[in-house]
């Protein structure tokens, strides 16, 4: 026994050096890890079906002067193969004709043409006219526009084009044919210029799209980094000290993050476009059609579409950009759009059909009905994977991998911050956060939205997002590491509770009866009570109501507007439309007058005492948030000028009462109507990738890179290709037209952790440093984590290791909190004689260190930097640090003190830096 133990400890002692020859123990365990990875009863990956050819793209243009035109229809345009190409090279002159052919589609000239049904004139012609044109050596064949274009134009623009003035999005579904259509209409930002001005070099090349010479009025690149909206929001919040959270009081941490996002979003109002003489809109739509007999396939896709809309929209955005950039160049636009359409189809197909890691480790572990033995089996798997990757061959590899993941993928943070509530549901070592569901209804965030934040680790402000890519030639190793990492990426998971929505007594569609619900409803109504003693409200702010004369006029005018709409007058009234623009902005400013005053009063809070701890805190949070909203509004109010006289226009009902009569209103209180009480049970659905982003965005081993997946393994030997696609994705992510996260929030930094299993390296790529990779160093903080797995292999049950790993993660969390407090305490003393840069503002990743041995650095000098040349110069001169707006100097006294006090190494500090930033932001502790 003692010899066995000595061996064990002999190995254990030299864990850090990893020079020891593997003992019999480790060799056996590593061989056991090569057993089939998933012995648990898990659903297998069944690839869904999507026919890429059934994706159709339509682009329309609608302008004040020309009217509605079809610009592009993928159904009628195709590239002619190169064999045909040779026959047709002489006919290049046809290209000029495209404009006319495009503008002659049915329905394009709706003012002159009478409306036609689907069976339009083209039926008479057996062969649609074909036009050929050439662009950049490729020949395109354009058929006569199909006759359903008219309908689609109506769907996209509405039955009255140009009535709608802003940027809009629409989704249509139809049952016959089975199809789903997403469309966007947007106003062109570019000034209308003649075709000649458009340089041919401005094409659909994604690299050049980033520089947009045609938007001098648009936000300049320098504005982008300092997102004013965000700063407004955060300053409002910080002034209130939202939750006053303290050390272990992290209960609302993640929720708070979600709230913060909501706040930022709601304060983000669209800027009014500068006045234009001509307005020109582009309508872009893609349509995905399924065969009539593919109803189940369609439903599956529709569900997928609904949950993955933000990602799909992101891809769709590329088409919109291409359309906008090329709108004035007839030949180029068809080619560019066709090109974009192909990549869009591919992207969508990849997103939909790529094999997923069906059951990520974290997902399985958080299942409530997981048996102990299953959990242990899973823990054993994880431990044996850790063991496998810590064999001497791998050195510090696993440490580096976990350091990188845990440093940038911060979704684990909130899973180790202790809950204060004794929850009913516990999953071994985690407490289910009960409060989330009750808060969901008033925060109105989409859970999917919260998932995306977790998955991309988009906690920072300015925003950074993080992806992880594993590459290697051995797929069995890849899948193991992927599986292990899926334990550390910890988003929330979704449970769909779909209640039985049928209100009638039977499911029979023909003979519906509503006896049960009618009785139920009658009972409710009979029991309803009147709410007494409500006096009509007399507004304190009378600003709005003192211009009664104007009101009358305006209301009449508005009535006329309505009549305009009714009479289908297609000639838009320019004056009234510009009026409308004005009004819309004014409403936004003046809405605060209608905010209720009572919510601010403190007396309510003090009296609203609930027995339950949780609902009390809920109330408090609600009040906090309400106050923040009101404070934000008041702030806005102070900024806004005196409201325009015409403000009240259309705010009231357009029908004006001649004699204002005293209102005789009764306010009734009705109990909740819950048809589910009548015996309909809701169905719980979960565990399906097409409904749950957290299951969807971790891809299994594949052969190509896709930007949609936050964790993916690529089986390849050609690392350079992958690296190239990562870098170009980064460029796209932070480009002006490019990636925005969720609702148009600009991405400041895009980070990819590239883990190469073949040469056992972990490199960090960041959009800040362009092509230069930083090699992840191993950290001492991760060591205990790995050590626990070894202990489990040696003499503890494997599930103990899981517990202990969680504990060591929590240690990191508490260490970070302590460092934060330390920094806070020290800054107070330091700032008198030394201005220490603000800690929270920097969004840049951990800065470059002296230990950079990366061979990619040479690429950095000749990369295509779109910024000012001087900036490039500085970049290359000062290595990478210069791109950080503000950063804590790693050699500063403060950092040195921290390293000494907390007995950390430099790599440890760099590891913690990101965590500190997020925690600091959460805690709203001003440092500096």
């Amino acid at each position: 026994m003692s010899s066995f133990l000595n061996r064990v400890f002999g190995k254990n002692l030299q864990l850090s050096s990893k020079k020891n020859t593997p003992t019999t123990n480790t060799s056996s365990s590593s061989s056991s890890s090569l057993l089939p990875l998933v012995p648990l009863d898990l659903p297998q990956w069944i690839p869904p079906d999507l026919n890429r050819d059934h994706i159709r793209l339509l682009v329309f243009s609608d302008s004040d002067d020309v009217g509605l035109e079809l610009i592009f229809d993928s159904k009628t345009l195709r590239i002619i193969s190169s064999s045909d190409n040779e026959n047709l090279t002489n006919k290049q002159s046809i290209a000029i004709n495209t404009r006319t052919s495009l503008s002659q589609v049915p329905g394009s000239n709706r003012t002159t043409k009478p409306p036609m049904g689907p069976s339009s004139s083209s039926v008479n012609r057996p062969r649609p006219a074909i036009t050929r044109f050439t662009h950049r050596g490729k020949i395109y064949e354009l058929m006569k526009a199909s006759n359903d274009i008219r309908n689609y134009a109506d769907y996209i623009f509405g039955t009255m084009p140009l009535v709608f003035k802003g940027t809009g999005m629409k989704i249509h579904t139809s049952k016959s044919p089975l199809q789903i259509m997403m469309s966007r209409v947007f106003v062109i930002k570019l000034p209308d210029r003649p075709d000649t001005v458009v340089n041919t070099s401005i094409t659909s090349e994604p690299e050049t799209v980033t520089i947009n010479p045609f938007s001098p009025f648009g936000s300049s690149p320098s504005n982008r980094s300092s997102n004013s909206n965000v700063s407004v929001a955060s300053s409002t919040i910080s002034s209130i000290d939202l939750l006053g959270e303290d050390l272990t009081n992290q209960r609302f941490g993640r929720l708070y993050r979600r709230w913060l996002k909501c706040a930022n979003r709601s304060m983000k109002k669209n800027q009014k476009q500068p006045g234009r003489r001509f307005r020109r809109c582009i309508g872009v739509a893609f349509i995905i059609t399924f065969q009539q007999n593919e109803l189940s396939k369609y439903k599956h896709f529709e569900e997928f579409f609904c949950t993955h809309a933000p990602l799909i929209e992101n891809h769709f955005h590329k088409i919109m950009t291409a359309a906008e950039v090329n709108i004035n160049e007839r030949n180029a636009i068809a080619a560019a759009l066709l090109d974009k359409l192909f990549s869009f189809k591919d992207d969508l197909y990849t997103l939909y059909t790529r094999p997923r890691l069906v059951s990520p480790a974290w997902y399985i572990l958080t299942q409530e009905h997981l048996t102990m033995s299953k959990r242990r089996a899973l823990a054993q798997q994880l431990c044996s994977i850790i063991d496998l990757f810590t064999t001497p061959k791998y050195g510090d590899f696993l440490n580096c991998v976990l350091s990188a993941i845990l440093s940038y993928q911060l979704s684990w943070l909130s899973t180790v911050s202790p809950s204060l509530v004794k929850t009913k549901q516990q999953v071994l070592f985690k407490a289910k956060a009960d409060y989330v569901n009750s808060l969901q209804s008033f925060l109105q965030y989409s859970p999917l939205w919260g998932q995306l934040i977790d998955l991309f680790s988009a906690y920072g402000s300015p925003l950074y997002i993080c992806r992880t890519v594993l590459v290697g030639s051995d797929s069995s190793l890849l899948i193991r590491l992927l599986y292990l990492l899926s334990f550390f990426i910890r988003p929330s998971y979704l449970i769909y509770k779909i209640p039985n929505t049928i209100l009638s007594d039977t499911n029979d569609e023909q003979n519906r009866t509503y006896k049960k619900n009618r009785l139920y409803m009658k009972e409710l109504i009979d029991n309803s009570t009147q709410i007494q003693d409500i006096e009509p409200y007399s507004p304190v702010h009378s600003i709005h109501w003192d211009d009664n004369d104007d009101d009358d006029d305006d209301n009449e005018q508005n009535l006329e507007d309505d009549i305009d709409i009714l009479s289908n007058d297609t000639s838009p009234n320019h004056d009234s439309s510009s009026n409308h623009d004005n009004h819309i902005t004014i409403y936004n400013e003046s809405q605060n007058f209608y905010q209720l005053t009572y919510t601010t009063s403190d007396d309510i809070e003090s009296q609203s005492v609930d027995e339950h701890d949780i609902s009390q805190l809920l109330d408090t949070l609600i009040l906090h948030i309400e106050q923040m909203i009101i404070a934000g509004d008041q702030e806005k109010n102070q900024l806004s000028e005196k409201p325009d006289k015409k403000t009240s226009l259309t705010l009231q009902s357009p029908i004006k009462s001649v004699i204002p009569s005293t209102p005789i209103k009764t306010l009734m209180s009705l109990s909740l109507f819950e048809p589910s009480n009548l015996g309909h049970e809701s169905i719980e659905i979960n565990n399906d990738y097409h409904l749950d982003l957290a299951l969807s965005l971790i891809s299994s081993v594949t052969s190509s890179y896709s930007s949609d997946f936050i964790l993916q393994a690529i089986e390849t030997t050609n690392i350079n290709d992958i690296r190239h696609s990562i870098i170009s994705q980064h460029t796209y992510d932070i480009s002006e037209n490019g990636g925005s996260f969720l609702n148009g929030e600009q991405i400041d930094t895009s980070i990819t952790i590239l883990i190469n299993l073949d040469d056992i390296s972990v490199n960090l790529y960041s959009s800040k440093h362009n092509d230069i990779a930083r090699r992840q160093e191993c950290t001492t903080l991760i060591k205990p984590l790995i050590k626990h797995a070894h202990l489990a292999q040696q003499f503890l049950p494997a599930d103990f290791a899981l517990l202990n790993m969680e504990d060591s993660l929590q240690e990191i969390y508490f260490l970070a909190l302590a460092i934060l407090k330390y920094m806070k305490a020290n800054n107070r003393t330091l700032c008198s004689h030394e201005s220490v840069s603000s800690f929270g503002d920097s969004s840049s990743i951990a800065s470059h260190t002296s230990g950079d041995t990366d061979d990619q650095r040479s690429m950095g000098t000749n990369n295509t930097v779109t910024e000012l040349p001087t900036q490039t110069l500085i970049n290359s001169m000062l290595s990478n640090d210069s791109s950080h707006t503000i950063q804590i100097d790693h050699n500063s006294e403060l950092v040195q003190n921290i390293l000494r006090k907390f007995q950390l190494q430099r790599s440890d500090y760099m590891f913690l830096e990101n965590i500190l930033r997020v925690l600091e932001r959460e805690q709203k502790q001003m440092i500096g």
Binding site: L448, M521, E605
Partner: protein, 569 residues
């Protein structure tokens, strides 16, 4: 940010009109305040905004003639729903108005019964479903209506699109069903004939020459229609909120929090059975209560705090009291302790005291307190408490020389003893400190270690003590940072204690079979003296953790047993 539902109608005379709009807002239920002024003010806005405004004249544009508003409160989700034909919330009104015109006039759905989702960031997003109801008196014998679900978050709406439209369809089916019934009744006349008595005979009426405007409630023949639509809208809104649930996971409360909770549970039980003596003051863990109290008191809700405390059934100064909690004294306690170190004037003595304290030896603090000011000594003791995990600390305040041996921190007030020469009964490992407090200004006049170590050179210094002393010497730390650093280390050592406990449960790795060296390796400590600390700190682990480990181990044993038997077979 809230969602809302609206019913709209395309009036023959007035065009698109809003009939009813159900909006939601947060609702804080208030058990004490019967006369809720705030809520009344909120309601009264609706009464004000509900001008009849000629709508009485146009029946078609009205849902209910009697001017009823309906409101519903959902206490479980803290939401209030209110339905009216026009909302005082201008932004919402603008959005609904916009959605109304678009859904009835502009947006075209692909086919009947298919919803259209439209919108933009400025006006919000809307899912609209247009439907028609049969009406004998209407032009073309039918009327056009639409249901809208409005929401500002695009992706929220898209993700619920299928679900909401299904709910809307159900609402529409019900309305159409009722309208059909009315139409059947109005559109034909029952004729009394003698031809067949079992099957009634009907004659179909020609439609009226001039269409007339009718209220929807007449069309569906339901005078209380506004209630029904309100109830259904609330149903849609509520189910859309609960359709997708997110399961987030936090870590369990820390060991300190859990031990505190466990003690509280015991307290509650004890409280029910017997009256507790006031002589012994149990001190309770700092972190949880402290933070909660801090959280409330630093925020503007101090009044909640006091209410909350009064609600506790316990004697306030026993349980949950702020006494002995470092964070309630904060900087004062820290300064006091530093003062103590200065007066002690011997680093070795300090190390000796701290070391014995953290490995669980009894600490007796004799103090003179002429002012009878307990605050002072409590603040001082709170620092000692901070150094140990909650579960390890047991404190009594006493005037009785025969101290309890269960407590490891004894505050002995010598002033109340008439003769100062009475020796406290203590075991050999106890550490006794004497403090003489300045009678004027709460400063320590003298501090002395009574039980001197045998040899100064034999004073043991563990890593934890080193860290504490270092932190105490660092003047840049404020009390918060000091506490955070100590907490962090406590968590670290508690985790080691957990591991030690686990090892103790496993035969193969039982602490008996491992040498000290091996144990140190596993626990990742370099100083053999830390082992003592870790052993003692197992006491700081919560019962629930210990049970869990035992249970897991038992299950593991069973599993292995099964495997063995199956192998044998």
């Amino acid at each position: 940010m809230s969602a809302s539902c609206a019913l709209q109608h395309f009036c023959d005379i007035h065009g698109p009109q809003i009939l009813l709009c159900t909006e939601e807002r947060t609702y804080i239920h208030d058990l004490n305040d019967n006369d809720n002024e705030g809520l009344k003010a909120f309601y009264s806005q609706y009464i004000k905004s509900e001008h009849p405004q000629g709508k009485v004249e146009c029946k078609s544009c009205t849902l209910s003639s009697d001017g009823t508003l309906v409101s519903t409160v959902d206490l479980s989700t803290h939401m209030l729903y209110i339905s009216s034909s026009s909302t005082p919330n201008q932004e919402l009104f603008k959005n609904i108005r916009n959605a109304c015109v678009r859904s009835l006039n502009i947006e075209k759905s692909t086919e009947n019964g298919q919803p259209v989702l439209f919108g933009d960031d400025e006006n919000g997003f809307c899912l609209s479903l247009v439907f028609s109801c049969k009406d004998f008196h209407a032009r073309g014998s039918q009327r056009l209506y639409s249901l809208c679900y409005l929401c500002n978050d695009k992706y929220h709406l898209i993700s619920l699109m299928r679900f909401i439209s299904e709910c809307m369809r159900q609402v529409i089916y019900w309305l159409q069903h009722d309208a059909d019934e009315t139409y059947e009744e109005e559109g034909r006349i029952k004729v009394n004939t003698n031809l067949n008595e079992t099957i009634p005979t009907y004659i179909f009426r020609p439609p009226p020459h001039t269409p007339s405007q009718r209220m929807l409630s007449d069309i569906v023949h339901d005078s209380k229609l506004i209630y029904r639509i309100h109830a259904l809208f609330v149903w849609i809104l509520r189910t859309s909120h609960s359709a997708i649930n997110e399961s987030l996971f936090d870590a369990l409360p820390t060991e300190e929090q859990t031990t505190k909770q466990e003690r509280k549970d015991i307290c509650e039980n004890e409280h029910l059975t017997k009256h507790r003596t006031r002589a012994i003051v149990e001190i309770l863990p700092s972190i949880l209560t402290t933070n909660k109290q801090n959280y409330f008191s630093t925020s503007i809700y101090a009044s909640i705090d006091s209410d909350y405390q009064n609600e506790n059934d316990f004697d306030d100064d026993d349980y949950d009291s702020l006494e002995y909690q470092f964070s309630s004294y904060g900087n004062k306690a820290l300064q006091l302790f530093k003062e103590f170190i200065i007066k002690l004037n011997d680093i070795k003595h300090l190390q000796h005291i701290l070391y014995n304290w953290i490995i669980g030896n009894q600490l007796i603090i004799k103090y003179t307190n002429r002012l009878d000011n307990k605050e002072f000594i409590r603040a001082f003791a709170s620092v000692f408490r901070l150094f140990l995990p909650d579960g390890c600390c047991h404190l009594i305040e006493t005037t009785n020389p025969i101290a309890s041996c269960t407590a490891n921190l004894v505050l002995f007030d010598t002033d109340l003893i008439t003769t100062n020469e009475i020796e406290i009964n203590h075991d050999t490992n106890s550490i006794i400190i004497t403090i003489i407090v300045d009678s004027i200004d709460d400063h320590i006049r003298e501090a002395k270690l009574e039980t001197l170590p045998l040899l100064k050179s034999k004073i043991i210094v563990s890593t934890y003590v080193k860290m504490i002393i270092e932190a105490l010497n660092d003047n840049s730390l404020d009390d918060e940072a000091f506490e955070a650093i100590i907490t962090q280390h406590k968590i670290k050592y508690l985790n080691k204690a957990k591991l030690y406990f686990q090892l103790g449960r496993c035969q193969i790795a039982s602490t008996l079979s491992l040498s000290e060296r091996q144990q140190m390796n596993i626990l990742n400590v370099n100083n053999p003296n830390d082992l003592l600390l870790i052993r003692f700190w197992q006491k700081g682990l919560s019962q629930s953790y210990k049970t869990q480990i035992r249970m897991l181990k038992q299950d593991d044993n069973q599993q292995q047993q099964q495997q063995k038997t199956s192998k044998l077979k």
